[in-house]
Symmetry: D2
Subunit: 363 residues, 4 copies
């Protein structure tokens, strides 16, 4: 646990924002897959800073070096370790650091947790930068799942006050390939312009803005996930809540279920071309914690980036008195575009864990 995740596909994450390197080890990955390195880098580029004028102008190459587990471009079945060097670490940007606690950050809680010995520089082990190796690991899982016919895609369902439609009423067979190309992926054509305006407005106000990412997975077999404690929802939410800034996770109709009566919320079954399907998909493809073969659909809410240039009330840890902090440096006014590939990566990691768990159960 802690920096470890998984029982069948096991991850171990390490590194701090301003240390030597960050990285991940993944054990239990199947042998024999030819890694599509272009795909891996494409995914990592989507997460990297500096991709558009909506994100921080910081540029980090985020070049993963694979240290183990791969021979001649093919997975060996042994632990895959990849590291990413930290190169562009201008520590002075983080100013007074561990003295003036940045509101909304982990400065205070990390200080307590690690008894004052934490690497506080740039958020340390709490930094969103730790999601880079996550995207690396997720890209391998995503490729493996794609080879089994599974597709994972996200869009931004809400950004500040701008709301997109939902995958719940989006045709399952409509093309979604364009979403992966968009800086602000939306289902409703043109809505990204309104979202972009919202981001620029926040930046101009030295402020930041949050939103909701919706994820859809198609091509999954029925039967993944296990009661009592390893429901699909349990595993995926566990991973999603590990992503910095995620504060809520909901499946299918999510919090809308509060107002749906049972007769509406139940998804009726129907035979279709010899297969059992549901007429509606309010449950988001998961019933009793197990996939039912319908698209898995869930949402994560992402709070607005805590790093804002406005002065904020805080406490000086060293003086033990009230103070004010102004966070300088290059920050994202909206983290959602860069969080999209992270949510997809975590989804791939969680589903592959469940896939492997299922595989061990087959008689």
């Amino acid at each position: 646990m802690s920096s470890f995740f998984g029982q069948h596909l096991r991850l171990s994450l390490f590194g701090q924002s301003h240390g030597e390197a960050i990285g991940v080890t993944m054990d239990g990955f199947p042998a024999g897959m030819v890694i599509d390195m272009a795909r891996v880098k494409r995914e990592m580029a989507r997460r990297a800073p500096g991709q558009s004028d909506l994100t921080t102008p910081r540029r980090e190459p985020d070049e993963p070096e694979v240290l183990s587990g791969v021979l001649d471009g093919r997975t060996t079945g042994q632990p895959i370790c990849a590291v990413i060097r930290n190169t562009n670490t201008r520590s002075r940007d983080y100013g007074s650091g561990v003295d003036l606690l940045r509101p909304g950050h982990a400065d205070y809680t990390g200080h307590v947790r690690y008894f004052g010995f934490e690497d506080w520089r740039g958020g340390g082990h709490f930094s969103g930068r730790l999601t880079a190796p996550i995207v690396f690991a997720g890209a391998l899982c995503s490729q493996w799942l794609a080879e089994q016919g599974v597709d994972i895609v996200c869009h931004i369902q809400q950004l500040g006050s701008v709301r997109d439609r939902s995958f719940l009423d989006y045709p399952p067979d409509a093309d979604t390939a364009h979403l992966r190309q968009m800086a602000l992926p939306v289902l409703t054509p043109g809505l990204d312009a309104a979202m972009e305006a919202e981001v620029l407005r926040a930046r101009a106000a030295q402020d930041s803005v949050g939103g909701i990412i919706e994820c859809r997975v198609t091509g999954l077999p029925a039967g993944l996930g296990a009661p009592f404690f390893d429901s699909v929802e349990s595993l995926l939410s566990h991973l999603m809540f590990s992503v910095p800034a995620v504060k809520g996770v909901a499946f299918g109709e999510g919090f809308g279920f509060a107002e749906l009566s049972g007769s509406v919320a139940n998804d009726a079954f129907r035979m279709e071309s010899g297969r059992i399907v549901t007429e509606t998909n309010h449950s988001g493809g998961v019933q009793g914690g197990i996939t039912n073969g319908m698209p898995v659909i869930f949402r994560c809410v992402i709070r607005a980036t805590p790093s804002i240039a406005q002065p904020q009330r805080t406490v000086s840890l060293q003086k033990g008195e009230n103070a004010e902090v102004s966070i300088r440096g290059r920050h994202d006014p909206c983290i959602l575009p860069r969080a999209v590939p992270v949510v997809e990566a975590m989804t791939a990691i969680g589903l592959m864990e469940l896939w492997k768990e299922r595989q061990a159960c087959v008689k």
Copy 2:
């Protein structure tokens, strides 16, 4: 995993609704605690059916028998196993069972998951009845936490269209003891009558109704929870999504964060009587995945009970054709009153796991 949970406080859950017994083993529980059995039974009674006319008239004694781990009423530090016999199991109520798939239930997914060998009677291992041993285990954890000054309490924040206020703007020191006595615990005096009407309306319509449970934990020290994968939110959501019918979990402002700008969402720090506190608690007491000493506040949405008396479209598994099912028997038109102690129990289990994890880290 699966029916196991935890690394430091380890749970193993077993049983099916209509098997011989259900139960739980808990390993890693501290030695030397005198179990307050009256408290345990009180918690279990809150979850048991037949408590009021809002729930199913089924009555089950739910008497836990402690098989191990306790000597002269005191925990020994060794595995505590408790079993609850299944007595009132009128299997015929479940009618055509594994043939006609009940919409919204795990009949279909369980059938796929277990290759047709599952115990389908009364929901089997998927039954909400499995939450009885969870409440037993949670009651022990809750007592232990209470001895450390931790208090866990829930209210129903929404039931159908009736909405209560939130713990987020409720005075932290206001008394909440009465909530544990109410059939429909609410913060707004009198609102339970409106909720009761909503439940009775649903029952009259042979329908069911869902809602939102909000939970608040006070008295926690700062420093519980660990990045990257064992954030407080990860652990608690993992457990909450194991509870049948939970479809969403959110901390602090939850999905409301989508519309909060960073300058509003950030909780400013302040010195108060020599302690670091936050002026607001939008984050729900968790920052960077770690408790900050403020009340931990989160919400779970509970979908309407899938068991409704109305005829529903479905599929006959045995004939492989479309069919109709009418679920007879004694069912809850609204499961929220009985889910409240389950949410509290899961919270206690998760927090104690985090407490023990922290304890192992202290130098």
Copy 3:
């Protein structure tokens, strides 16, 4: 960990010698196996006391009650819990108990470990009686493995000064079915009489005697076990050292390897009927921690039962001074006959864990 074992096939053990019951929960067992209950009871009878005049005259029915995970005699794929009631618990036999520490027992270490709150009656959670549910769980695994063609068998290779030959130079296809019928299973005809004399001699001297159990597994595929930490030897030794009284575990030539030069110790490869085999089996069927398809052969040394009637020097815990203890009651002068089915059960549990782990890895 602690009372939990396994990642793919998960065990949770509970109970104390003189508590209400002892038992085990096994999660991850494949669905659909028709349990051969006669076989299970036969295995449990081999372990139970009172089987011959070589063991304690105590008689305990050791009747397992299956509480969950089985429907109509078939495994459901869900957690299997079995409990065994403690019936014949004459506590007074254990005399001064937690005061006078019994040498060689866990009275002292258990007292420290559990801060004085342990259930000390009859050895409590440390009692050899806890191996009864182990044999139950092992019998199910053993049946499943037998259905895949795997055979597990033990003999007593040494008892006091009497030594039997080894499986290492025993014809792999020679019949071993009779070993399961013998009170003192040996490969050399007639040697059991000499061993029996050794046991009776020990009993007459109010003493006890130890020995070595050798185990052989045939029918295993190559490829089970995984570096770095989950070698076959690691898993099996972990389980064997959980059995009370086991103080050493060795594979193939074991401690004899110290005197073998590399040119002798290496097992040369050879093609045989299109299969790769080794000419010798010094390594005991495990190379690089992974099965090579040859018989897996290992040995456990079992120390003499610590419960002896002779007076022994010890300490009074309550008075904090030197004292003498004489252990009354009905004890085994030699535990080896009853340990044989336990070693077989643990072997089955470990191999099934490795089998399931392997299954999750297949592409």
Copy 4:
């Protein structure tokens, strides 16, 4: 599992002999320890090849680079990752590699295990080289334990036919510091010369030689280890059997217990300066799987290095026919001197895991 170990102190090992790098991530290590890097390097130097003319003349710098978890020389409480680059990898030495299976190596079992996709070069993930990061991790644990007063030391108790005395009858307070300086550490003065002659004899004969390493741990508190599955013996043997070439592990009198009657084998208790001690230490400091405060003493047998220059019978994997292999290259005629620091490192890792487990249990 697999390349992961531990619940409280968690290790993740990665790398292959001839890949880019090997390394280890350790999570759960206490915050605030100033790493004694000279000590770490000294331990790694003891394991590195080329230390004396008894080992392979290969020289590898084995310079660990710490990527994370350390700030200003102090542990942060976050995952510590260290990598060691593979520099001196003359692959051609390994000749026909995956074609001609080297007897006694993991070439064949690794091939089956990883479906032919394994990195076979130089033993790949199975290589003894993987013990270098183990020694790194162990050195940190060893330092932490030393700060708590724990001392871990090994000697070579047997090398081929040359036998040393045992720690069991060695004065606990006799100085052992010189053992860490000796190429062949022995308790009997001068015996290392006889052992050295044995090694040189083996090398001259193009052969290799094995032996037994005995380890002693002093300064441990009573109460470490936990029944049922996490006995001290279970944890330590699990780790020892992960070390390539270890084929047997035994505690205290070990296999000698077979011939000890209970009245001899039992360690009588006695009060000594207000503390409970045992008069003898046949059990090797572990009773009921838990430390009793006496020195923990155990032995590992190490088989002779399988890499020998003599021609050996084998199989050509590619041709599927019998063949002969001569292993060229620079190999150790006796691995014991280099295995000593590995056994010490594994011991430190296992004991620290048990220490942390215990810490989580304290009320």
